[in-house]
Amino acid sequence: MQTIGQYLAEHPFFAGLDDDVLEQLAGCATNVHLHPNEYLLREGEPADRFYAVRRGRVSIEVRKAAGRPVMLDTAQDGEIVGWSWLIPPNLAKFDARATTETSAVAFDAACLRGKCEADPRLGYALLHRVTQVMDRRLQSARLRLLDLYAVEAEA
């Protein structure tokens, strides 16, 4: 059976990290399974977990005042969910909900933050990876602001 450390070595987010670093990370992690419509994070609540998705799909979404949630992004196998655990005040900015049967590695945020504080090399490695995810999602959000597929009238 594959250990969490072995799995993390194969996950794109953790690619390139040394085995000892992966072992440190695995020490804060557990495997979780989520059914459709189970929440990983709730807007405004403590971001006490950070997830690496193994299989399935998670929707990052926001609740409208009196309507259904609007999906802003999805994360699927090989991607991560959550970066608020790293940024004070460590409160989730959005909901994260499994939309299919989902398996993930869940990291305890306090444990991870403690290890990052104690080992700046680990902290930098994680921050470096999280900022790449943030960059990709920021670019995605900006381009979608353009509403590129909207109707353009005939010339």
Binding site: R68, M71, Q76, L143, R144, L148, Y149, A150, V151, A155
Partner: protein, 296 residues
Amino acid sequence: MTSQAAAAARGVPAPDAVAPARRPDPMLPRPFELQRTRRDTHDTYTLELAPLEGGPLAFASGQFTMLGAFGMGEVPISISGDPTRPGPLQHTVRDVGSVTHAIVTAAPGSVLGVRGPLGAGWNVLAAAGGDVVFVAGGIGLAPLRPAILEVCAHRDDYRQVAVLYGARTPMDLLFLEDLGDWAREYGIAVEVTVERGEEDWEGRVGLVTNLIGRAGFAADRTTGFICGPEVMMRYCATAFIEQGVAENRLRLSMERNMKCGVGLCGHCQLRELFLCVDGPVVTYDRLRPLMSRAEL
């Protein structure tokens, strides 16, 4: 075997073989009877047309026609049918203005004018032997559909094939039946994403650009075919290049204000290119310096 001969052997007319000059007067529309209109989404329709005289219109994937409603005008519309099977001319049209509205609301039996086929197509044959990635945004799947069908008809000639498709919402997705068929029957990796989903959507939400890095192709043998809004195509091209795909192996279908369709009027000019004859499909090594320049 020349590429034209090879294309002919596959039943696909090479772009040169279907040049508009085949007809005596390229400005003269050929009358086609509307046989059927299918509503694909809230604003997009697929029409099937049959010529009132002569045989079916031979075309290469990626070519377009100037499709006209008599008394209203004509608009450039890519052909969305199967180039390997003679049959009705298929056009997928989005209802965005007076001419397209007249076209999509025409009753079966109405006569529409068709000039073409026009322009340079995808040249799918050039990708044979390698991996192929199709990236479509919005109604951009319609011009790519003939190329995908051409690959399906000769599936063994290609290695890994992926169709990456992005739309505004789940309600805007086109050709859902085809997407399923391509995955099931032809082993094509079909990935769909939307820009906005609601609670009951189980698929992806995000940019189609983000799917390129996950498509799992071998960069040195991959050809990318991209069709969608220009900004989307530019970012897709960048994503392919980041994966190591050469610029001259990226083919983009450019949309411009085409009028004459035969390289005379200049409405579709992009610096040295007249996109109605030099395009609409152009490789990215030619387009890159032009696409990022203001006022071109």
